[in-house]
């Protein structure tokens, strides 16, 4: 790389950054016939939804699938329900929203009348498994060791996860407890604000067991500071490191639990536009850029569209509602 080209790039980047600032600061008016689109993200930059949403946008822009450009907006608040409510009030055919299991949970907690399936479900993009984690010095060597102990003393063993009630890291241990015959209300669950604080709680032995997606913990797992007792999916994860961990089913627990993310459009858009948007996402799914993102982020390629996705959303929201009701939340 010659120094001239780096400088040019640098200057170009600078200009872009400035333009970006003004665009986000002032808002951009958009001509109606334009093909430009807006992707809403229901949490902060750097979070899970943000990574998935931006990867999808990047792949669509790289392949020029929509014929226009994308503007990405992070709408932070109330576990994603602020962004979701905004989508439900919109009739803009050019706006889509990244959602996931966490948004189902918080729309229950916030008592929203609308469910995710009431928008226009476009596609599920990915799936992510949860793992059961213990620190290296833990006496639990296998998932059976833990479950046996847990069944005896569900109310004295402190377990934790990186999400508040209704989020995936909370729903998973509750459903696991129920599957092995523990009353979910008895579980002593400690909510941490994300993967970072959860890691330090585990390494500092503040809690016995942690529940979370494994991506954030790769370093600690590789180094042997944290041990994975089981993963929650139908099949084992891929990769040298992660494929060693047994699924719950292999270990004799009848539970499959997955975290997932997908894309919604506003309710009431035309059938034609819905099909068009789904076609964009299908094309995006086939692109090499997307496949690369799946690999880099260790996301499981679980893609379903339209009615199939809608049925899935219905099933998910019933399941979340049941769990939360059972807990009295």
């Amino acid at each position: 790389m010659s120094s001239r080209s780096t400088t040019t790039r640098c200057v170009a980047g600078l200009v872009l950054a400035m333009v970006g600032m003004f665009a986000t600061g002032c808002g951009v008016t958009r001509g109606e016939p334009s093909k430009d689109m807006t992707m809403l993200i229901p949490n902060a930059p750097g979070g899970g939804y943000d990574q998935t949403g931006r990867a999808a946008v990047a792949a669509m822009e790289a392949q020029d699938i929509t014929g226009g450009t994308f503007e990405v907006h992070n709408i932070i608040g109330a576990g994603g329900t602020v962004a979701f409510s905004q989508l439900m009030r919109s009739d803009d055919e050019h706006t889509i929203l990244t959602v996931g299991l966490g948004v189902v949970g918080s729309s229950y907690s916030f008592g929203l009348d609308e469910k995710l399936q009431d928008a226009t479900p476009l596609a599920q993009l990915i799936e992510d498994q949860e793992g059961v984690l213990v620190p290296a010095s833990s006496p639990y060597k296998t998932i059976d060791d833990f479950l046996e102990d847990w069944k005896k003393n569900p109310d004295t063993i402190a377990v934790g996860g990186g999400s508040s009630p209704g989020g995936p890291d909370h729903l998973f241990p509750m459903q696991l407890a129920k599957a092995v015959g523990i009353e979910p209300r008895e579980v002593r669950y400690v909510a941490y604000d994300g993967g970072g604080p959860l890691t330090s709680a585990l390494l500092g032995k503040k809690i016995k067991v942690g529940f979370s997606g494994l991506g954030e913990f790769e370093g600690q797992i590789k180094e042997g500071e944290l041990r994975v007792l089981a993963v929650s999916g139908e099949k084992r994860l891929e990769g040298d490191l992660f494929s060693k961990f047994p699924t719950l089913k292999e270990s004799g627990v009848d539970l499959v639990f997955t975290n997932w993310r997908g894309v919604l459009a506003p309710p009431g858009i035309s059938e034609k536009r819905r099909d068009e948007l789904i076609a964009y996402l299908e094309e995006m799914h086939a692109s090499p850029e997307w496949q690369e993102s799946l690999k880099n982020n260790k996301w499981i390629d679980e893609f379903k569209t339209g009615d199939e996705f809608e049925a899935f959303l219905e099933e998910q929201s019933t399941r979340v509602d049941d769990t939360m009701k059972e807990l009295g939340l």
Binding site: G46, G77, G79, S200, G204, K222
Partner: protein, 525 residues
């Protein structure tokens, strides 16, 4: 120790004219973006990250370090000049810094902030270099009970900041604690004080509260009095720090560093608590206590150093354990991974050359910040020479822009206006502003830690003193209350030099309200 040799290699790799240019660009960009209120270092780094793509790792790191330090310094600049902190950790800087600026000492405030940041950042980075692996092991053992004890300790110290009227002080503190309750309850997922608005489902952004109460409240207050009172002219003052300023600054710099670094190194320690502790400490130690609240340079030097040392400290959990503990370090983590650094326990051994380059880059970025910004301080200070009506309308504009830019919600502007009104009313009724801000910052931290400790123990209160550090802190808190009382007993004729414990009032009721004269005048009407 061969760490020093490795660091020298890192510096050697990083110090080329071309790289220095990237560092300079990074510092300038970071400062300009950080100057916008509402845009703290996390946002600045996230916004400008794309600029570093396409560069080689070394250059990218250097530019990145420049952006990072520039963004932090930019936030302090607005705190001092316009009373609009860009992030929660520079809220404490605004309290004395803006008072200094109003007295024509903006250049000194900016300079002590810049030099303090530099010293704290450098010492902090060197501490990371030598002690990261050791500290990391100790840091994780500090759990919720100890943290709760730290905040209890801080709360005990707060009582000395309540001002002349205890009643008004407590009203303000409890208002702050109430605002701190807004948002989703982490343990049950239920919204609190949200009034059915999903926008209130997250905790209030401290920056919006602070900017509303400090900047908007003051702008409204000034506007309400413009016709009655001639404007005071802000004196221009000396452009550089005098001998006296140096003498009063260097100790707070070092003390701030000592307080800030450990908080950064503790996972989830944060930068707010140390800036606050440093402020109280300086206030207690200051010889001219009456100057506090009226623009004491110690109150800028200490918190700024604490803020930067804490930021350097966050590299301990980040590099040694791969744990991002603040929003800024989460963005950093994303940035590091995009350059092929996989943070985690193995990082220091596996990719040591990259780590050393990064640490060396931080030192260079920090040094360049000082070189570029110190001469600019008198220029920035001239900003205040703008006629007041224009200055305050400018502040209103930038405050609203910042509130909106942070998450692009119109609702945040509404919140800003509400807090502006609260700030106005507080000035009207002479409620001190500082306890409210402290309530908003410390309340939620205290609650989270308290409930985490109890959630782990299943509601058993013994858990609160289950850690040695916690016990030590409770003992200290008791001593802080008891010793001044005993001293008073022993020396009944004690003069003004006894530090004001909770029992005594050595403070002059000074706080972020500077309009006490107006107030009296108003009351007389």
């Amino acid at each position: 120790m061969d760490s020093l040799g490795l660091l020298a290699d890192g510096l050697g790799a990083a110090l080329t004219p071309e790289n220095l240019m990237y560092a300079a660009i990074g510092v300038l960009l970071g400062t300009f973006v950080g100057v916008l209120p509402g845009i703290g270092p996390a946002m600045a780094v996230a916004l400008l990250l794309p600029v570093t793509f396409g560069l080689e790792p070394t250059q990218a790191f250097i530019m990145f370090a420049g952006i990072y330090y520039g963004g932090m310094y930019g936030g302090s600049t607005t705190s001092i000049l316009l009373n609009t902190p860009g992030e929660s950790s520079s809220v404490m800087t605004a309290i004395e810094g803006n008072k200094m600026a109003k007295k024509g000492r903006a250049a000194q405030a900016l300079a002590t902030a810049a030099i303090g940041s530099f010293i704290a950042g450098t010492i902090g980075t060197l501490l990371v270099v030598f002690f990261a692996p050791i500290l990391a092991d100790v840091a994780v053992t500090i759990g919720a009970p100890s943290f709760f004890a730290i905040i209890v300790f801080a709360m005990v110290l707060v009582t000395s900041l309540l001002g002349d009227s205890r009643l008004r002080g407590f009203i303000s503190l409890f208002l702050g604690l109430t605002f701190g309750l807004v948002g989703m309850d982490l343990n049950t997922g239920q919204p609190r004080l949200a009034f059915g608005r999903p926008e209130l489902g997250n905790p209030l952004d401290i920056v919006i509260v602070a900017v509303g109460i400090f900047a908007l409240g003051e702008a409204l207050w000034v506007a309400a009095h413009l016709r009655r009172k001639p404007l005071e002219i802000i004196p221009v003052g000396q452009p550089w720090m005098g001998k006296d300023d140096w003498g009063r600054s260097w100790k707070p710099w070092l003390r701030g560093t000592a307080i800030g670094f450990p908080f950064g190194a503790i996972p989830a320690g944060g930068a707010e608590t140390p800036t606050f502790l440093s402020y109280i400490l300086e206030r207690k130690l200051a010889k001219k206590t009456d100057e506090f609240g009226q623009g004491a340079i110690e109150g800028v030097a200490g918190p700024e150093a604490a803020n930067n040392a804490s930021a350097a400290g966050t590299f301990v959990p980040l590099l040694a354990m791969g744990i991002p503990v603040t929003a800024t370090s989460a963005v950093m983590l994303a940035a590091l991974t995009s350059y092929g650094i996989q943070p985690g326990p193995q990082l220091m051994t596996d990719q040591s050359d990259l780590v050393w380059t990064l640490l060396a880059s931080l030192l260079i970025g920090n040094a360049l910040l000082l070189v570029l910004n110190l001469p600019l301080a008198p220029l920035w200070a001239k900003l205040l020479a703008i006629p007041r009506p224009y200055l305050y309308s400018g502040i209103l504009f930038f405050a609203s822009l910042g509130a909106y830019a942070a998450s692009q919600r119109a609702f945040d502007i509404f919140l800003l206006l509400v807090f502006g009104l609260v700030g106005f009313m507080m000035r009207r009724f002479a409620l001190p502003v500082l306890p409210l801000i402290i309530g908003v910052i410390l309340g939620p931290l205290m609650e989270t830690r308290f409930r985490e400790a109890l959630a782990i123990s299943g509601g058993d209160l013994d858990a609160l003193w289950s850690e040695n550090l916690a016990i030590v802190l409770y003992v200290l808190a008791v001593l802080v209350i008891v010793v001044p009382m005993l001293m008073k007993r022993l020396r009944p004729s004690s003069g003004d030099d006894v530090p004001g414990g909770p029992g005594g009032t050595s403070d002059d009721g000074s706080d972020a309200v500077e309009t006490t004269d107006d107030e009296k005048e108003l009351v007389q009407r």
